[in-house]
């Protein structure tokens, strides 16, 4: 099977070849975006991810076989343009307990607490945490996607987890985190 890099290289000569990259990664990116911004926004934003990627295909690093980190990086950048929208979603979910994007009754489970935690995180930390948790990306892939050193990713996710742990403990979803986690959060 051709790697993404080979297909993207081919797409420089035969643009239609890029459709294979779309087929491979579209659904994963759509679900990631939809869980953050909702299905309606996911339709357009996912489309923009691939349109942007196609326009920038000559800049893809062919040393990397998979385009997955690159595409999620583009998605993350585009999601940041919807920061206010996302903040509203998180705030509403945290306050009302009514899940956004899905037709379901309000719940008092972990969802609202998670939304509250996400709302309190710094944006890069939130991006890194959600790429790891929602998109199943490794730290190395996240580093590629966000174009930062892998050590930075480790730090961001560690801090995001600490914020989450504290928020979840405060709402009784998880036990109270150990003291050192609190201390590290305080350092930032």
């Amino acid at each position: 099977m051709q790697t993404d890099a080979q297909i993207i290289e081919e797409a420089e000569r035969t643009p239609e070849a890029f459709a294979t990259v779309v087929r491979r990664h579209h659904d994963a990116i759509w679900r990631y975006v939809a869980r953050r911004l909702g299905p309606d926004t996911a339709d357009d934003l996912t489309s923009d991810v691939f349109t942007t990627a196609f326009a920038a295909r000559t800049r893809f690093d062919s040393a990397r076989d998979s385009a997955r980190p690159w595409l999620f990086g583009i998605a993350t950048n585009l999601i940041r343009r919807h920061a206010r929208h996302e903040a509203q979603i998180l705030d509403a979910y945290a306050r009302t307990g009514r899940p956004p994007h899905v037709d379901a009754p309000a719940n008092d489970g972990a969802g609202p607490a998670l939304a509250a935690a996400l709302a309190k995180m710094r944006k890069p930390h939130r991006d890194a945490l959600l790429l790891h948790a929602l998109a199943d990306m490794t730290y190395e892939e996240i580093a590629q996607a966000m174009d930062v050193p892998i050590g930075t990713v480790r730090g961001w996710i560690h801090r995001a987890r600490a914020v989450a742990a504290r928020e979840l403990a405060a709402q009784g979803v998880l036990p109270h985190p150990p003291r050192d986690a609190d201390a590290k959060v305080a350092e930032k």
Binding site: E16, A19, V22, R23, D27, R31, D44, L168
Partner: protein, 539 residues
């Protein structure tokens, strides 16, 4: 459970993208539509208005595409196996046919074909205005894929002249060229009949752009003649068995694929119902040319990709705005798809008429087909080399049978890549190989791949489904020939206890004829009836 685990479940009920969404996104990306930067209902309503003129056309196309793709990108349910082939396919619509109309018809054809052949898991997805991506579970060879993916079609070309010799054709062509037509060149070679074949006198014609190019490819004995550009040759045989003839026709069809609404076949007769516009065009042609007669050429593009040139026998216009044409063919139409390598069922090529040419750009395998299981028994020396297999040492005997007439068996390429078969029985003096014998796509319990013969008999061999335990053939003499089944293969030797002239292989002598092949399960229940060509028979 830690906080990461909790986040993994965060809003996981959000669902997935709408069916066909991927194709739309691919289309937008590749066609270079400018990325959107904001998402709101207003933008969604207004983006058509904001587009350029070219963008409007693209947007309309996209809207149509999306509407279509939302319907059914998947033809059937869950695939029975996790391996098969995929293909990228380009459609070239007939004049005045939109790419979307061609794609719609093609997707409909594939859906119907998958349903009729009972091949679950077939997916066809539009990936560009004129391209689709096909996934065909259980397919292992390109010919198998092509037979499934290729629509049958019919075009009718107006004949300029029909003759029994190249010289007569050349004289007609020269007149057109002297009237100013630009010439191309044809190399005309006469094929040599193989041993045991009745001399056929076939002409092989190949077109080249220039006379010099043609001459450089011509071999001693070949002829090179100039032909007007836009004309072509066809070798045609009358269905009544009269001599072969050469026909020169204009390469601009009177009846295009898009003019055919429906095709029905029965034996050697084909009836094509024309669309109203097709009927009008045919009448216009008749008004200007006077006739659509025996010398016009119908090109039938059969599912396996072959071309069967033939002549009209009847042309009927039933009433204004409607017409049908009836064609007598040189082969039995409902058996054609059962040619080796096209094992997808007897009706494969019948279905919605796709008003476009279909080209398979790329085909590749996915998953792993089951390994070949058999014995490492060297085949008899009489077995000729199997195409695609480096040596007979790479062959496995997958099924064998010992009878009073000797041993017979089927050998298959061990790597499974080519699935070639060979079979032998000593009394028959050796036996040939079949070009390919892929696994079955659908549920027919057996597929016949090898039905050739030697001077004292023939071998019926091919694939057998898991539920087949016994096979037997009812011969024209009334005798029952019992075969063997093993490892997903079967073999039935048909031994003729007298010497018969090899040229009579194809005759209907009862000694050679097989009236029925029967497949049975372990309890002896009949699970399938087939004729000697492997075509299922309804008991």
């Amino acid at each position: 459970m830690n906080e990461i685990d909790l986040f993994r479940n965060y809003l996981h009920d959000v669902g997935g993208p709408a069916p066909g969404r991927t194709a739309l996104v691919a289309l937008r990306a590749v066609s270079g539509t400018a990325p959107t930067t904001r998402s709101s209902p207003r933008r969604r309503r207004g983006w058509l208005a904001a587009a350029t003129v070219g963008g409007v056309a693209l947007a309309v196309g996209l809207a149509l595409t999306f509407t279509n793709l939302r319907q059914t990108p998947s033809a059937t349910g869950t695939a029975r196996v996790g391996w098969g082939m995929t293909a990228d396919i380009t459609l070239r619509p007939d004049p005045n046919v939109s790419p979307q109309a061609a794609v719609d018809a093609y997707m409909q054809l594939i859906r119907e074909r998958a349903d009729r052949e009972d091949v679950p898991g077939v997916r066809v997805e539009q990936v560009a205005p004129d391209r689709v991506h096909l996934t065909l579970p259980s397919a292992t060879t390109r010919s198998q894929l092509a037979s499934f993916a290729s629509p049958s079609d019919l075009r009718v070309f107006p004949a300029i002249a029909s003759a029994r010799s190249v010289e007569e054709i050349a004289a007609v062509a020269n007149r057109a060229i002297s009237d100013g037509a630009r010439p191309v060149a044809y190399v005309i070679a006469k094929s040599k009949p193989k041993d045991g074949e009745t001399p056929a006198g076939d002409f092989l014609t190949t077109q080249y752009k220039t006379a010099a190019d043609a001459s450089s490819h011509a071999k001693p004995g070949d002829q090179v003649i100039p032909i007007p550009d836009g004309y072509a040759f066809v070798l045609a045989e009358r269905p009544d068995g009269e001599d072969l003839g050469l026909t020169l026709f204009k390469d601009e069809p009177v009846i295009r694929r898009s003019d055919v609404a429906r095709i029905e076949v029965a034996g050697r007769r084909l009836v094509a119902q024309l669309t109203p516009s097709g009927a009008t065009r045919m009448r216009d042609y008749l008004a200007s040319e006077g006739a659509l007669d025996d010398f016009d050429v119908a090109e039938l593009n059969m599912a396996p990709g072959g071309i069967v040139p033939t002549y009209f026998t009847i042309v009927k216009a039933r009433r204004a705005g409607e017409a049908s044409i009836s064609i007598e063919t040189t082969g039995t139409l409902d058996q054609v798809p059962r040619l080796p390598g096209a094992l997808v069922g007897p009706d494969t090529w019948i279905g919605p008429v796709v008003p476009a040419g279909v080209r398979i750009d790329r085909a590749s395998r996915y998953g792993s087909a089951p390994e070949v299981v058999g014995d490492s028994v060297a085949p008899p020396r009489q077995i000729p080399e199997i195409p695609g297999t480096r040596s007979t040492a790479a062959l496995l005997r997958v099924v064998h049978l010992t009878t009073a007439d000797g041993d017979s068996g089927v050998w298959v390429a061990a790597d499974g890549s080519s699935s070639m078969t060979a079979s032998t029985i000593p009394r028959l003096g050796g036996h040939g190989s079949s070009p390919a014998c892929p696994a079955l796509l659908g549920p027919p319990p057996i597929s016949l791949c090898d039905s050739g013969g030697g001077p004292a008999g023939s071998i019926l061999a091919g694939r057998a489904a898991d539920n087949v335990e016994f096979v037997e053939a009812r011969r024209g003499t009334g005798e029952i020939a019992r075969g063997a089944v093993a490892n997903g293969w079967f073999i039935i030797p048909i031994v003729v206890h007298e010497q018969v002239d090899p040229r009579d292989f194809s005759t209907d002598r009862p000694e050679w004829r097989v009236d029925e092949i029967v497949a049975k399960d372990a309890q002896g229940n009949i699970v399938g009836h087939f004729n000697q060509d492997g075509v299922p028979i309804t008991p």
